[in-house]
């Protein structure tokens, strides 16, 4: 009788129910895997295949083994781009992070906190501004003749500087643009970190007679370590993948004088799309990924070690 009722409710066999119940969850999660497979995994695997082949326009692929990788490792231009990205990274960390932390501390102060909404909007706006717009505006600011910056310096008797053409200034200019572009977002990250620090810690330190500097160095900075780690990773990824600004600032060459603005991703683009060296470009991508992976692992290891020392 019971069996008959079930048949009435479900006009399919229990075997089919078992099958469908087994597959339904997979069906639900499949969109992610399908999209990831097509747009994530496939390009990664195809890139790996490309990196061990020599391919020109419409020509049959030719297996070259590790030749492309060996060429990347011995290519001065590639290492120049890595050097530029490392310089940009160090500069970004050294300039943007202190500024961002300072801004976050100001925003966290009770006087400024009243207008926090206004300030956070102001700080976030550069981050959502189009890279192209930023590039064009800063290209005007940094022009040698008629540029705003040189006009301002002229007031103090400073001779015009070729900001965008002089290799000495290429990366500092990029750092300055990155400062304007990213300081707000990083300040907001720090602000989120600051707001997670329990106020009781500061109260207790104050009662114990800790000065403001002592409270900052012994409470604020150590407790900001997790968010700092996150910002560091973001900075590494951002520095090695910067693309739009050098392109616009160099009138579309992407390289600057004597490759002074050449970034690894720009090199990858130039090799792949301008010179049609697809295999070599893919190898550049893989070597770059491995370098970034190594840097990230080192950093993770260092942070983990310190956390262990502190017993956290």
């Amino acid at each position: 009788m019971e069996r008959q009722d079930r048949t009435l409710q479900w006009p399919i066999t229990s075997y089919k129910i078992r099958i469908s119940r087994k597959w339904v969850p997979y069906l639900f999660i499949s969109p992610f895997f399908v999209l990831y497979g097509v747009f994530g995994l496939y390009p990664v695997l195809y890139g790996a295949w490309l990196s061990v082949h020599k391919i020109g326009a419409f020509s049959a692929p030719q297996f070259v083994g590790t030749q492309n990788y060996l060429r990347v490792l011995s290519d001065g231009v590639f290492w120049r781009s890595i050097g530029n990205a490392a310089y940009f990274l160090v500069g970004s960390l050294g300039v943007i992070l202190p500024f961002a932390l300072l801004l976050a501390l100001l925003l966290n102060h009770r006087v400024v906190a009243r207008a926090k909404g206004f300030f956070t909007t102001m700080l976030f706006t550069p981050y959502v501004t189009s890279v192209v717009v930023i590039g064009i505006v800063f290209a005007y600011l940094f022009k040698t003749s008629g540029g705003v910056l040189n006009a301002a310096l002229e007031v103090f008797g400073v001779a015009p500087v070729s900001w965008l053409r002089d290799p000495t200034w290429a990366i500092p200019v990029l750092i300055l643009i990155a400062l304007w572009n990213h300081v707000g977002l990083n300040a907001l990250y720090f602000l989120a970190g600051l707001q997670n620090i329990p106020t009781e810690l500061y109260d207790a330190a104050r009662i114990d007679g800790a000065s403001g500097a002592e409270r900052f160095f012994h409470i604020t900075l150590p407790l900001l370590r997790p968010i700092s780690l996150f910002i560091f990773f973001q900075a590494i990824i951002g520095s090695f993948s910067v693309f739009g600004q050098p392109f616009i600032l160099t009138n579309g060459t992407g390289t600057g004088t004597n490759n002074s603005m050449l970034m690894p991703t720009v090199l990858l683009y130039i090799e792949g799309f301008r010179k049609l060296n697809f295999g070599y470009a893919a190898a550049v991508g893989y070597v770059l990924t491995l370098i970034m992976l190594a840097v990230t692992l080192i950093q993770l290891y260092l942070f983990r070690d310190r956390d262990r020392e502190r017993g956290t």
């Binding site: 391919i55 020109g56 326009a57 419409f58 020509s59 290519d75 231009v77 290209a139 022009k143 040698t144 003749s145 070729s162 965008l164 053409r165 002089d166 290799p167 009138n251 579309g252 060459t253 390289t255 600057g256 004088t257 004597n258 490759n259 792949g272 799309f273 301008r274 010179k275 049609l276 697809f278």
Partner: protein, 420 residues
Amino acid sequence: MKRCRVLKVTAILLGPLLLGATLAQSLTLWTFAPLHATFFEEVATQMSERYPDAEINIQQIPFDTLYDRLATLALAGGRGAPDLVDVEQGPFNRFVGDEMMFEPLDSYLQASNHEDSIVRGKLDLFSWDGQIYGLEHALTPVFLYYRADVFEEHGIETPIETWGDFYEIGMRLQEQDVALTYSPLISSTRMAMADVLLQQRGEPTFDAEGSPNIRTNDYAEVHAMLQRWLDDGIAVPVETTTDFTGFLNQERYVSFIGADWTGGQLRQQVPDQEGLWRIMPLPVFEEGQPRTGTWGGTGLTMLKTSRDKEFAWEFMELAQLTVSNAIRRFELISLYPPLKAALDEPALNEPVSYFGGQSVGAVVADIADEIPSQNPSRARTLYAEAVDAHFFDFTKGDLSAEQFRDAVADELDRLISREQ
């Protein structure tokens, strides 16, 4: 039985559609220039009159994006590729090599008796390894554009015969705070300008085989001259691509070296200066040299993967090899046609109101026989890199013109060997 009936009905309904899809001609064309797109739309309308069922799709794609897409298609073996593509001569050099993605046009030109229809120099620009891959839009002769009102005001006689005279006029104008011309600090524009002057001296940057021809005295002297214009103040520096038109608007210089297509840019960018500009043949270094050069150029190419090559060729022939469309393009874009049969057409010699009623055609006819060829070379992209490496030091004065020449030549040799 039921399934069989469904199949029959589907076949009856979809049959004509599928048949139509197979038989109707279709063609997709990519171009980067808005005015070229307008011109091709008109040609598409003419084709539609011949083939009412044909589907012709003209797509305008931004310059860099078009070549990025073309590169991607090259990698993908041409799947989803258009039939015809407008290729600018610079990027064309990227795509030349052992395996060409373009269809050779020699047999089509031969079959339609058009082997000698286009000026040879302009066919050379889109040739590789003895085969022709593109049909040029323009003759791209280079003129000296000048502000007739300013020249008249300062009593400057035209045409200016030599570059020496040009320099002296520049120095005279400079005393009255007028810059005669501009000199680019964008390395790619500077080398294109230098290339024109080197063509005049019979020593182009790349020889007929596409090999670099840099270690010459001419190369150093031409670059020294362009730099002297800047250093001595007869030229204003142009640092960005927007400076060119920006400075025109501000009237910061009163003459410049430019190809015929620059005339179209002038009309678009500074329409309010209509009637003030004129053109003249280029001054020369020495008597007997060509009073012009060639700068830039865009060719219509057919991809190897085109689904209907005959139909695509018919479109190409109509657009690039008929006198009526050569005239129409001249009217629309101010491009003087490279089609020999059109050169004597009265319509091309009409007065142009933007140039104060001057006949551009008459100036072109005067210098037509002197227009040199521009040789394609796979190494042009690398040459740009080589120049870029030392251009700043040269313009700053840290390198002499001779040192700059040697540094560029050495760098180019290094880059070529790196590619191999």
